[in-house]
Amino acid sequence: MATIFLAIPWGVILILLPLATGMICFLWPKLAKILGVMTTFAIVPSVVGLGWQIASNGVYRYAIGGWSAPLGIELYADGLSLLMLAATALVGFGVSVYSVAYFERAAAVRFWPIWLFLLAALNALFLSADIFNLYVTLELMGLAAVALTALTGSKEALTGAMRYLLATLLGSLSYLFGVALLYLSYGSVDIAILATRVIASPAVWAALGLMGAGLLLKTALFPLHFWLPPAHASAPAPVSALLSALVVKASFYILLRLWLTIFGPLVGGEGVDTLLGLLGAAAVLWGSFQALRQTRLKLLVAYSTVAQVGYLFLAFPLAAAAGVTAWSAAVYLALSHALAKAAMFLVAGNLLRFGGHDRIADLDRVVQRLPLTAGAFALASVSIMGLPPSGGFIGKWLLLEAALAQGRWGLVAVMILGGLLAATYVFKVLGHTFTQADVPHEPNLVPASMEWAALLLALGAVLLGFLASPVLALVGIGDVFSASEVRP
């Protein structure tokens, strides 16, 4: 039994299953809902299967069609990929359960096939072992995400989606130029092969600039975040959740992967990491301030994403001296943020359905009337603020530890200030959930599945606060983090 389980190519299933069911949903719209939920549910045990394989056999490699790396396409998964796949599976399933009740029939027919394509693209991205495949999956993911943003067809949504489309195309194009440069100079697109061949040269610098700029744009790092708030705030709630939780993380993952293997060891000490750290710090502060200023919940949550993405980049300047701690912090923050932010957007969707608006000051006794939704927001907030016990706290603790050990006081101040600002903006919302609105309104019913989906995702972010040891042990498989410390 166990050997059969270990022999199944889970990595392939993770890509082909959503692709296939996405097609079927497209062809037979009647099946869309049921097939969609079943697929996202099946993804969860598939990731567990892959995790088991990695835990028992080490890093996972699968040569598609039997052709291995230089010629064929190879799938590759280590602890880092596994973590991202797990986040995708969990958030994806939660959002799918939510979406069943959320979308009306007409919208559902369009939502499910695109979402399943997006899922296939995400899984393929996290399993890719070469920079060209990463480009292909990145582009697919971006297009699917834009399509989802435009789903409602409203003027606001189309404007947001158009900006998003331009940003994402520009980003992938820039990335593609970088890929071409590297391929031209070193004759390979395989990450492992490139890692052994690259030397400090103008071509590498140019490739780093192009790929980095493209990925930063797609990750929405300050000051390239301009497209994110309108796109995330105008999309339907489950779509916003997927975008903020997963899509933004995917481009961060590529950047992290390339930095760890190709660029970091080469140019780590030359100021690029400091620049990324500075931008991250600026993002934390700017995003938090903007979130604080918002009067509408979805915009607040979207700006909070801008801030939280900033934290991920604080790890770069710290990694040279404390690689494992800093990167563990970054991926733990990414994972916790994925769960917490998805929950927050789902909460926003519930409140929008409940009261017909998402004006923070006019929330009307939500704690009494939608206790599960209010609880979900509160639990997600704990992680976003970085308070214990939560995954966000673990990530912040590790990051602070790395910063303090190196005496990086600027970064320490940014983290502390960012936490205070986050507390200010989430409690601005929570405070108003207790009070009565000036104009009471007739509430609309929110289906239980929508409340529970948000609550369970938020609970996941809190429970991560107790799972740091096993999760970080799993992420360590493949030893990808320690490799990044600057070569002597």
Binding site: L387, P388, L398, A423, T424, F427, F434, A468, S469
Partner: protein
Amino acid sequence: MNSWDAWIPLLVVASSLLPGLVIFTLSEDKMRLRTVLNLLGALVKLILVGWMIWGVYHGHHYETRLALLPDLELVLRAGPLALLFVSLSTVLWLVTTVYTIGYLEGSPHRSRFFGFFSLCVTATVGVALAGNLITFLLFYELLTLTTYPLIVHRGTEEARRAGQTYLAYTIFGGAMLLLGTVWLYTLTGTLEFTPKGFVSGLTEVHHPALVIIFALLIAGFGVKAALVPLHGWLPQAMVAPAPVSALLHAVAVVKAGAFGIVRVVYDVFGVESAAGLGVTGPLAAVAAVTIIYGSLRALFQDDLKRRLAFSTVSQVSYIVLGVAIVGPVATIGALVHIVHQGLMKITLFFCAGNLAETLGIHKVSEMNGVGRRMPWSMAAFTVGAFGMIGAPPIAGFISKWYLGLGALEAGQAWVIFVLAASSLLNAAYFLPILHRAWFREPPDAWPDEHDFGRKETAWMLLLPPVATALLALAAGLVASAPFSPLDWANLITAREFYRP
């Protein structure tokens, strides 16, 4: 050590956590089930704590360890000091639960209230049992989060504002605490509470950093302990329902802050190392200022609960002062005051709640002749008030006696003046209340009277203050009996902080 001993601290935490979580799911009308769950949890906790007191007295160790981070563990350890605070929380939780059931009868959202109430106690017990600084931090922040819904419980705009103020202070304090804790960890590589501290191994190069870390930690705890100038949230938080104020002031929030300061001085820095760094002097000065300032402000409050709130600001700093004096006798005074202040202050708040619920009295100026209408409540109030002033044989006298003696022993005579001035001020703001209540003529009609038949008020409101007043009296009368707070404070001091 048998295998059960490793789980008892966790069970103590769970005995209020689980009922709390279940209560959230109950509908409003399931009053009986809610009450049973609450009382069951409180009794189980009481039994477990009693068991551990007996065990620790006879040299057993109770410790739960769970992995939290690769190199850090979640540690719950029932040492003597932890048990002092745990037993206070447990006893007062039971009493307050009874009171709250009576107080909230018929009011809305009780399931939510009792749910957060239980979580709040869970956090307090976790703070008490925490065996290292990160565990302490975890429960300390949990306490912030779980008390917030209690403070804004009424859902008015005023309550929301008070909640925001509370958070502004406590989140800031939490950030200072986090910074201090991580910084300390990068220097020492451990956060485990040890008698006599774990920083003495650091060389002189690190001393400036240690002083800053001490300041950060004290600032973090000082917010909840309401040290001046970090006390601003406390009087505002008075909009909360009376049982919340009672619990906040007597056990949960302010006491967690004071307890944190005790932990930092004794188990993180070690009292001698702290004195060597020269940080105890400033701490004593801050405590003295807080004692006097709180009393002075209390003098001018007409709102009864606000007067009591400023009194809390003043009284809690006795604990801090006793810690900062540096000496075994003062330490005993500080430790014993953790319990004594809790018993006396909770009595006073229960009585204030009774006056508000029964007669609609919120102000001191409305209290004329109230002693004749509610003799039992006011008798309990009188015991609490005299205790606060420090009159023998009530518990407060014992605290002040040991603090004064400890100050003289440590050669810090100035503390005597602070204590004397504070006692005078205490008398100045409590005696007029008692005079009004007992010796003035009652008005023709009370502001908002409720009828309870022949009784002065509901028995569930009356029993708790009478019980805690008796406990405060007993703690003073038979202070030298075995297992009294004073006896236990002696034991802690002898076994841990001033071990020969």
